[in-house]
Symmetry: C2
Subunit: 776 residues, 2 copies
């Protein structure tokens, strides 16, 4: 089903449809191999990797193996430096290759790019989080069959296990080197280009003895006081035949070389046990010792035992988070795939970590933290996990409050400005239009405080860490607004909204509305007696409160009276407003086809901007108001951000445009599986793919949570027979099932919970059943 | 008079006041040495150089020797590439050092940084364009006295002459190597930094024989199809004593090494004859031959003869251009210095050349063509030269029309967009805010057509080259405007005006007004029967004319009815308007002290924007209108562009604010002589210093030229007794003298000329005298 045009969408599907796995049945080359490498990425929150082959592959491939939180600051290169520019751009970096096996058959190296396989299957098993391959190939007239499988253990996050089995169909002489390779390079970087990849690591130590091989590497020094990362990989190798391996050590690569003659149908199996310890978890001088202890323990515990524990952990996870879609395996596969990849990337076990837009699946966007985390991922984690993962995310931002204050100070502003891109809280993007102007991100953080509290009722957090974050963000805004004499109101000048196809605009509605909301929410909390300690700690003065109150009252919100819509920014209607449908196909995507100035002065919107706000603060607007704005803005939105379609899907669902909602859902849900944006080869859209869960739960099911009010208004997409999902809410674990007739809600406890369905309140104890509303 | 605070101005004066020269009487070190190197730059339009010492100087120094029109395209480095970005940034490059003498006294190298001189004088003689030095120093207890002088011949532009005389005070053994050195580096460049200067040249050939030494170099290959430049330097050396020199040849450096023993009061004199030929003037394979022929001819003609011809040429030049100020030597020195440096940089002898903002005096801004040429230099050349130099400038732009069309096409627009920065007509700046948005520059080109015609009545140019330029610029604007429904008018969205402290604004008044003017002027010319051939050649359609007419009628010009001022851009008054005087000294200059976002959203204006327009199209506005706008905008203008004060000086003069005008004049006129912007060490502000002539002639004298109308309204700055200047106008050469009593106008011919003085028309034949108006 390659290259099919579907509603103007470019569909390029390389894997079979299946509810619980993705599978390819042929070997791809070129970009398709890169896409399938991205799609078969796995991770355990602590580390992750692309679906690279274990053996040599001389065709197109991005070798990528990443450690969470391990990054490098690359000096910012710009044409003209401006004050306030960050000194560096942070990026996660590729690290030691520990999956590798060099295989030779009768002295000829196995390389599927040269010896095209007779059969080939690669499978990512979502339920069990196992990546496997199975192929038969002929090398110099000798046929062999290979089976491989690997996991990154969810049970012990420092452990990876790989199995590599070779069956000889013809008699042959086999040599297998199971290795660790510290010769690592990055493909993307200010200093990297096609001819010269960037090198970010120094190799400190490489050693091997008959039992254990280790590699220790350290990130290169930098001029920005960013700590150097150090990591040790330890490896033990098991072989099903008693062969004494040769120890290979040279050029930063160590391995166990096994040589054996195989008879027809002989099978030989290798198992690699890998442990990885980095200096985020252990002192530098203990890294080696700890890695060795770890790997000895793992080896003694046994491959099968560890393997099964990993599967158990994933199965238990699925019991809590699974979304079932009956009637459409393609949509079913997509939502499971997306939840799988999201949890491979981040599950909150370490609150110093966060969610890179491409997770562990590629180098682009540098694996750093973006506002994506709070805007699309947090709401999913709140739903599927309850308090633990969301709390880690909230603590991440709280722990970076002093850095956020530094960012504000850099721009001569008060309070805290959370960064556009960061690893450690310090801004590390490097376009002024983004870092200095796209400050709406601050309100995503404040809204997250509210959102988190709505689901968890975590007073302790709210009136301590949460309130501190809110106060410092409020201080930022109070110093950032200015007074407009002609408007007789406060204004926010010179910003970039979520729509990055506009820069340096005045009074972006989304930014202004979010600012007003933030100040109002903060002021409300400050009235609560529980706020006292923090008021004292942060020296909140009555003058400040007065100023904030004044801003809430007099902050300008651009509105067009004639069209009755919120204006994306001042003078937006001065643009030549023409629908996206008036564009020629050759103009799309405009970011690739048009000059930047043409994009900037056009009416076209990259991603939800006003509509993003209507989704966040939904309950503050009437349905007709939302629909009117949707109908004005959606036709001029090109959705060239992967974050855009899910917001539109949700609003379309909620305003009775179910077909549009379904179209937008598919665009979100199968973004990578169908390579819709034609960039999956660079890695997966980890953060935006979580929007597909939102499109189902917040969209189709119409879930709205404000504090102590849980609402749903479910609809059923026409292609589906039924769907069900779990929801954590105020310590309840609920299950929702929506079929053509009924909505069945059940929960595991028997405490009373009010729930609004189609705007009617129900008192729920264990379960209830309501008729499904069907659009006429 | 160092570091004196004067009206908030930072004055750092290193040279003595003198009407006809600049002279320093001590050796400076560090930044002061760099500043004095910049200030003692010389040039002859074809080549130029900083005032570097001939002998070794181990202290701070930027070696800089430049060939007009010889440049290198450096690949653009930006954080995030956007469509429409130029591929490269063009820059003039430092080239072979031909001034050098290595001097040793008793084996110890002369280096004034180590042997502090007993006396030291460096003099730039403006009248004769001679740079000389005279110093006494002690090396290992041996005192020597040195006299040097050099010229870049105005008479034969490929020739440089240097004289280096050494007088022994004590007996000593002297060694002198007169050399050419092709080991050349650049200090500024995308790839250069303090540790690693950029290298742009390959040395093709270095040779020496007893008569002549030559060096041939070629710019390194580039990936942008920019032709490689090749140049040969040939040298002959004369020595006053009959010494057979050793031929030195190694490491891309060739020289004649003279060794001699001197008795007390013995003087030995060396004269270097240099010729430079590059492949802009001669075929590659002839370079060497031509350079040798040239230098032999020069040598045969004799040093003194060439030297005197150079002086004659400069004296003749001064007769035509001199501005005399009686009563203030500092102001007198400044205007002569500025005219001197302008003419060293460019005198139109080759219409492929143009005027770099730093001329031949430094590497910054890359010696390329900016809109400075038409905005401040052309009006000066029109006044001091008449038709020849201005015509070269006009032909430069006409010859680059097809490149300007390419630039427009790159941005998906019709017609021609002249570049912000260029060598060959292709845009080569690299910030989107500037290249894509600062499109007002196009109207500077169209206004230049009108301006040129007003002074020259060159119908032939106007209805051929000029009209083609105007039509293509008009086409650009017709494709760039868009229709605003709410405004019921055409708008120009997403621009940067002359004030580069704003980006991506809508309806910049200056841009819109200039566009309207351009279209109107083009339409007027098209009605003339002489326009027919070009209408046919460029296929101007009646539809186009209709559209342009409609735009002229309906182009939006932002205006505030309450304040009765033109608005710099839409919503400008939404800013927090506070005068510059409210800023703390520690905030200035804001471009160095403030973050970029703070600058963008502040009210502060970098340089004249609305006022620039009021100066250009002065006659279209009433004096009270201009004064009102001046009084609104000047107080919020920080003048952080060197192009700003002169415009303000002119408008202040014309609206009766003579003291303000004088203050602004001094800021323009002594910008480099007093290092006012604290950046003279990087090179001189060649283009903006020409603004001082405008401040006198267009400002104090109130000269306004529209076609067939010559107006003056002279005033006398309080500090001056009188001033006089020359003016070329419609083939007349006029002389104006303004003293406290009278204005005396005279001219060399006796044809009738109408002249308006203080709004009264006079019929002038040979001369006339009018009473000077004195402000109460």
């Amino acid at each position: 089903m390659k290259n099919k045009k579907n509603n103007e969408l470019h569909i390029h599907r390389l894997f079979n449809i299946d509810p619980w796995k993705i599978q390819q049945n042929k070997l791809y080359t070129g970009d398709d191999q890169l896409i399938s490498e991205s799609l078969t990425s796995i991770g355990n929150g602590r580390m992750g990797m692309r679906g690279n082959f274990e053996e040599k592959f001389s065709g197109a491939s991005y070798q990528g193996s990443y450690l969470a939180g391990v990054w490098f600051p690359e000096p910012t290169k710009v044409a003209w430096w401006k004050n306030g520019y960050p000194d560096y751009f942070g990026k996660t970096i590729n690290s030691t290759n520990y999956i590798g096996f060099d295989i030779k058959v009768d002295g000829v190296e196995l390389d599927l790019n040269l010896q095209k396989p007779l059969s080939f299957t690669r499978t990512l098993d979502l339920r069990n989080a196992i990546l496997s391959r199975s192929f038969t190939t002929k090398i110099n007239n000798k046929v062999i069959h290979v089976d491989t499988k690997r996991i990154l253990s969810l049970n012990d996050r420092d452990i990876a296990l790989l199995e590599y089995s070779i069956k000889a169909i013809n008699p042959c002489r086999l040599s297998v080197n199971a290795y660790l390779d510290a010769n690592i390079k990055n493909y993307i970087g200010e200093f990297a280009n096609q001819n010269k990849p960037a090198l970010f690591w120094d190799v400190l130590d490489v050693s091997i003895n008959p039992n254990i091989a280790t590699v220790t590497t350290q990130t290169k020094p930098n001029n920005f006081n960013i700590p150097q990362f150090m990591s040790t990989w330890a490896m033990k190798v098991y072989c099903s035949q008693k062969i004494k391996p040769k120890l290979v050590n040279g050029n930063f690569k160590v391995g166990y070389l096994h040589e054996v003659s195989l008879k027809p149908n002989d099978t030989i199996t290798f198992r690699k046990f890998i442990s990885v310890i980095d200096n985020r978890y252990e002192k530098n001088h203990n890294l080696n010792k700890t890695a060795i202890t770890k790997i000895n323990n793992a080896y003694n515990q046994g491959f099968d035992s560890l393997w099964n524990k990993h599967i158990e952990s994933w199965n238990k996870r699925w019991d809590n988070i699974d979304v079932k879609i009956n009637g459409n395996d393609s949509d079913q596969q997509a939502i499971r795939y997306n939840l799988f990849q999201l949890l491979c990337t981040y599950d909150g076990f370490d609150d110093r970590l966060n969610i890179g837009p491409k997770g562990f699946t590629g180098e682009k966007y540098g694996g750093a933290t973006y506002w994506d985390t709070e805007s699309v991922c947090l709401p999913v984690y709140l739903g599927i996990d309850g308090a633990q993962i969301p709390r880690s995310l909230m603590m991440y931002r709280f722990n970076q409050l002093s850095q956020a204050k530094h960012n504000a100070h850099t721009l001569s502003l008060d309070g805290a400005l959370y960064p556009m891109v960061t690893f450690d809280g310090i801004e590390s993007h490097n376009e002024w239009e983004i870092t200095m102007e796209e400050i709406h991100r601050n309100n995503t953080i404040s809204f997250a405080v509210h959102n988190y509290y709505s689901y968890t009722n975590d007073n302790n957090y709210l009136f301590n860490e949460g309130l501190q974050v809110l106060i410092e963000i409020s201080r930022f805004w109070a110093s950032r607004v200015s007074w407009s004499k002609p408007n007789k109101s406060y204004v926010i000048l010179g910003v970039t909204g979520p729509n990055e196809f506009e820069h340096n605009v005045d009074n972006n509605w989304y930014t202004n509305y979010g600012t007003k909301w933030t100040l109002k929410y903060t002021l409300e909390l400050l009235k609560n007696s529980q706020a006292k300690p923090i008021i004292n700690k942060l020296h909140v003065r009555s003058q400040e409160i007065k100023k904030w109150t004044d801003i809430v009252k007099k902050l300008y919100l651009p509105y067009d009276k004639r069209l009755k819509i919120f204006l994306q920014q001042d003078n937006f209607l001065n643009k030549d407003i023409q629908p996206v449908t008036s564009l020629k196909p050759s103009d799309r995507p405009i970011v690739q086809k048009w000059s930047w100035d043409r994009i900037l002065r056009s009416c076209y919107i990259k991603q939800a901007d006003v509509l993003q706000g209507l989704y966040y603060w939904y309950s503050n607007f009437s349905t007709s108001e939302i629909k009117r704005n949707y109908q004005f803005y959606e036709p001029i939105t090109v959705h060239e951000s992967s974050l855009s379609p899910c917001i539109h899907s949700i609003l379309a669902s909620r305003t009775g445009m179910l077909d549009k909602a379904t179209e937008m859902y598919e665009r979100t849900a199968r973004l990578d599986l169908d390579n819709i944006n034609n960039d999956t080869k660079d890695g997966l859209h980890i953060t935006s793919m979580s929007g597909s869960w939102l499109a189902i739960v917040h969209g189709f099911a119409g879930l709205i949570t404000t504090h102590y009010k849980l609402e749903i208004s479910p609809q059923l997409p026409k292609k589906w027979n039924s769907y069900s999902f779990k929801l954590h809410y105020l310590n309840h674990l609920l299950n929702f099932e929506i079929n053509k007739k009924d909505i069945i809600v059940s929960k595991q406890d028997n405490k009373l919970l009010y729930i609004w369905i189609y705007n009617k309140r129900y008192n729920m104890v264990e379960s209830l059943r309501v008729k499904t509303y069907v659009q006429k």
